[in-house]
Structure formats: C-alpha cells, structure tokens
C-alpha cells in the first residue's frame, strides 16, 4: 500500500461520512466464522481461514458467505472445501481411519500411564508390608497416628 492509496482511502472513507449509520454484523457472519475457523488457510503457516488476512483467505470467506446465503448447509460447504483441497484444509482431523491415532492417543496414553503407575505402586506397597512376625501394638499405633495428625503438614526435616 503506497502513501497515495492511503490518502485515497482516507478521503473515500471520510467523504462517506454523510451516510453514517448504526451497523451490525451480517446475520450469516457467525456461521461464516464457525466454518472459517475450522479451515486451514492453505497459504499461511498454520492459520485458520478466519484469522488470516491473505487474499486467498479473504476470498474463501466471501465464498463461504455467498454459499451460506444461497442456502447451503455448513456441512456441505465443508465438504466442498475438502473435495477441492483434501483433508489438509481441515484444522481438526476427521475422526476416521488412521486419524483415530491422535483422537484416541492422548486418552490411551493417559490410561496406559495410570495403569502402569497403579500396578507399579501396588506391587511396591505390597512387597513392603511389615512382616507378620512383627506385630505392632494396636493402641500404640493409633496413638502414633494421632500424634502425626496433630503435626502441621509441614516438611519438617
């Protein structure tokens, strides 16, 4: 954008002051946003179509707007973009095929981690239960526990 074009914009915008009005968002805009936020701007580094200011993204948003106004459903618009650009354009991978790896992966990793940990802990704990030959006076034990409880939960060395 050159200096002159800046001035031109300023004049153009200033000149239209006479027609000032209260404006509001186009009612389809919320849907446009919803769709465009889930599409990848193909020419950007990891930006959604909605957030990108590139020409392509702007045109894609216009296309989405026009399609919505023509009565197309968001689902069919999404399908259209996938048919043109492939799955690459979806920022959220579809839940199908190999993609389940990343959808189920975190949950599986968490369960596996927790499982291994619990098994490990149980084994460690059981192994070290005091031997049967060393009975502890139940009263003394209770007293000890009570005293421990009274101590502030502090890391006293």
């Amino acid at each position: 954008m050159s200096r002159t074009s800046l001035i031109v914009i300023a004049i153009l915008l200033g000149g239209s002051l006479a027609f000032a009005a209260t404006v509001d968002e186009d009612p389809t805009e919320a849907k446009v946003r919803e769709i465009a936020k889930e599409l990848r701007c193909a020419v950007c580094q990891n930006e959604s179509v909605y957030d990108s200011r590139s020409d392509l993204a702007v045109q894609m948003k216009e296309l989405i707007r026009d399609k919505l106004k023509a009565g197309e459903s968001p689902e069919s618009i999404r399908k259209y973009f996938v048919s043109r650009y492939g799955d690459y354009i979806l920022l959220e991978p579809r839940r199908q095929g190999l993609n389940w790896l990343i959808w189920a992966g975190p949950g599986a990793a968490f369960l596996a981690g927790s499982g291994v940990l619990v098994v490990y802990l149980r084994r460690r704990v059981r192994r070290d239960r005091p031997a049967a030959g060393a009975p502890v006076d139940a009263k003394l034990k209770k007293r000890l526990e009570q005293e421990m409880e009274k101590l502030p939960d502090e890391d006293v060395p």
């Binding site: 020409d55 045109q59 894609m60 296309l63 048919s83 043109r84």
Partner: protein, 178 residues
C-alpha cells in the same frame, strides 16, 4: 531388556525414521483430491474481453496454468509455457490458458509486455473462485485435463521438460488414439 528400555529405544528409532522421511518429502506437494475427477467448470473473460467456457473445450486436452506477477517461479516457467504453446498450440485437440491468480490485470499486462507476451489466452479470476474451485494453494499450478474433461495431473511449481514428456505427451497421445 526390560519393557521400558525396549519402548524407549523403539520410540527414539521411530522418531528418527519419521524425521528422515520428513526430510525426503517435498513439503510443498499436496496431493490434489481433484486428480481423476471431472474438472470444475468455469466461464470467465479473457484480458481482451472475450468469454471462455471450459465446457466448450470438450474433446480437447486442456492445460490450465494459474499464475501471478508476484510469483518468482512463474517467471521461471514462462519460457517453458511459451514453448508448449509453440509446440502444441497448432493442434486442434489441444488448448491452453493462463488464469491470473490474485493479481491486477494492469500488472499482468505490463508483465506480459516485459516477458514478450503470451501465445495463449489469459483469463481473469476476479474473486478467486476458479482458483478455489481447483484447490489452488499457491502459484504456479498447472492442471492437465483430458478429452473427457477429467483432471489427469496437477503440477505444483514450475512446468518442466519432464512435465511435458511424462505428463502432457502421454495424455495427448492417448487422446489421439481414442
């Protein structure tokens, strides 16, 4: 070997194999889902105000090149496109066209003057709709459409002599046989 040792070892190995693969791949190449499908129809004006319809070109092998003046590689491939136009432009069963992608006509005219013009029609894509319809994500991109109107190939990046020999020629040949 304990299980964790095996898992750790395999994990590291898998990671490295994956990276090695990543280095080999061309990050620019995105396979087009359009290859093998009917080419999306379009109707648009040329720089000189004529109208071009893809539908009118049925029965011809069509080469569609998306380009822009701000694209370096387009400058690189321009002579090759001119050569294709010179070599095949005379054939009745071949048509080629350039589509200006996200650019201004005036700039494109100047550019063509500088580079010695184009022997094939240049079309406009005012709202970028044709580009989106063809899943263009960067220029230059070149599509080869066969006689039946099916997209046979998408070339991302400059056209090369190999492209002509390995992609365009075979499609033209098979079209001739039919």
């Amino acid at each position: 070997m304990r299980p964790w040792q095996v898992v750790t070892g395999l994990g590291v190995a898998a990671l490295l194999v994956l990276f090695a693969f990543g280095l080999r791949g061309d990050p620019r190449f995105i396979p087009s889902p359009l290859v093998g499908k009917t080419a999306p129809a379009f109707e648009t004006g040329t720089f000189d105000g004529k109208t071009v319809r893809l539908g009118d070109l049925k029965g011809k092998v069509v080469l569609v090149n998306f380009w822009a003046t701000w694209c370096q590689e387009c400058r690189v491939e321009h002579p090759m496109l001119e050569k294709i136009a010179a070599d095949y432009g005379g054939r009745p069963d071949f048509a080629m066209m350039g589509i200006l992608y996200q650019d201004k006509v005036e700039k494109a005219r100047l550019y063509l003057q500088e580079t010695g013009g184009a022997r094939y029609p240049q079309l406009l894509d005012m709202q970028g709709r044709i580009g989106i319809d063809y899943g263009v994500y960067g220029v230059p991109e070149t599509f080869v459409i066969d006689r039946a109107g099916v997209i046979r190939h998408k070339q991302a990046g400059a056209v090369t002599p190999e492209f002509v020999a390995k992609v365009l020629e075979p499609v033209l040949k098979e079209a001739g046989k039919r």
